[in-house]
Amino acid sequence: MYSAEISRTIPTAFLFLVDQSGSMQDTMENDKSKAQFVADVLNRTLATLITRCTKSEGTRDYFHVGVLGYSGSSADNGLSGALGSAVLHPISQIEANPLRVEDRTKRVDDGAGGLTNQSIKFPVWFEPQAAGGTPMCHAITRAAEELAAWCDAHPDSYPPTVLHVTDGESTDGDPADLANQLQRIGTNDGTVLMFNLHVSTAGGDPVKFPTSDAGLPDSYAKLLFRMSSPLPPHLQKAAEEKGIKATMESRGFVYNGEIAEIVDFFDIGTRAAQLR
């Protein structure tokens, strides 16, 4: 299980579930709103995925990618424009259709022990939004519909991965059972993997792939931990290669952390050790 090659012939899928409810307006310890933090995380993660797939001749469709945003009483396609017609798209379509590409400055190693400014292009697909309720159950149900159809169409693919980003305050019921059902959908290679990123104003150190809910700051974090898939062995290994402690009991739960590196866990061919 979880051993299917990821290739242009048999791609895998990433579906982002993004909380856009009113509570996401709250400000985090880093002075960003949760909604801004989530938008940055999502845009950076999409860019990371695309960069991995891009070669001199263009972006190869190793992944199908979609975003479902949820607020009020609905869960809708979180991407717009040319990407608004369907939820999941080959990644080359995501690459070709950002909302805009911003010029930003990044501090990088100057090779002489110091730092220097480097101009970079920062694509934006997803704007911060925060309004209304948190229909998490509805969103997970919608994700299940999308992924069931995708798995039917790609029976031999590595199973889809859901990256759910939320502050955990569901307003349409307990999502735990629905999350379990979502994780029963799958391909011949395994069932859907669900990662949950909990963004919180409670502060504290980021937590990645804990083995239990002990020490998590609140009931929302504990709920999201229970909703998260156990890490299969190859993902434990991938996490360890990035210096993240992971064991057989670890779950795909991250608290106030970075998830862009999670998309690095999925092999699309040989990657140099230097790119860890």
Partner: protein
Amino acid sequence: MDILFQGSVAKYLDRPEDNEDAYDVAAERGRIVVSDGASESYDGKSWAGLLTKAFAEAPPAEEALATCVEAFTALHDPASMGWSKAAAYERGSFATALIVQEDLAEQAVAIQCVGDSCAVLTDGKDLLNVLPYQKASEFEGKPTLLSTLPRHNTHLFASGMFSVPEVVWSYKDARPLFLLCMTDALGAWLLRSHEEADGGLALERLLEVRSEADLSTLVELERAEGRMRRDDSTLVIALL
């Protein structure tokens, strides 16, 4: 050395242009170079080609590597690229290098290796020497490779000076022997088969390859059976 076979099969037979392996054989000079461009590279194919060409002519020295980087840089103009290509280019391109030099006088072959391309010395029955790995499971890790970005090549300066480790295998009084040079999917398959005590069947089949059609038949069968990873697969067989 007599070259019994040299050839390569792409990851997908219908996409030979995507093959990112490169090799160069100069039997009259006793030199074999194999390079495997990494999939997660902006242009691993060109990088592997440049390294192979350079190291077929000269030892893998700091100057030769710098010349390859310059040649690679000349191929691309990041300023004219869109955001995704520019970002991929900035990550670098990566490739292995396996360099063999025979010393006829000493009846030995010197092997230099960066990354996971594999050399095997065999009498046709046993694996007498293997580089760079001794176990098939070692191929599952991420290899340290040669990069187009100098900041990723610091491993070559581990001793304080540029150096690529060299191992010498003597074949004095032991001829005839075969030297196999191959990229990682073939190497992992051969070592795994050997570990599973296949009675030397994998080695025998590999040594029987005399054409790209033979190699293609072998790797497609093993891929279909799930015993060989689908990857560009390059093989050079030399009789010593």
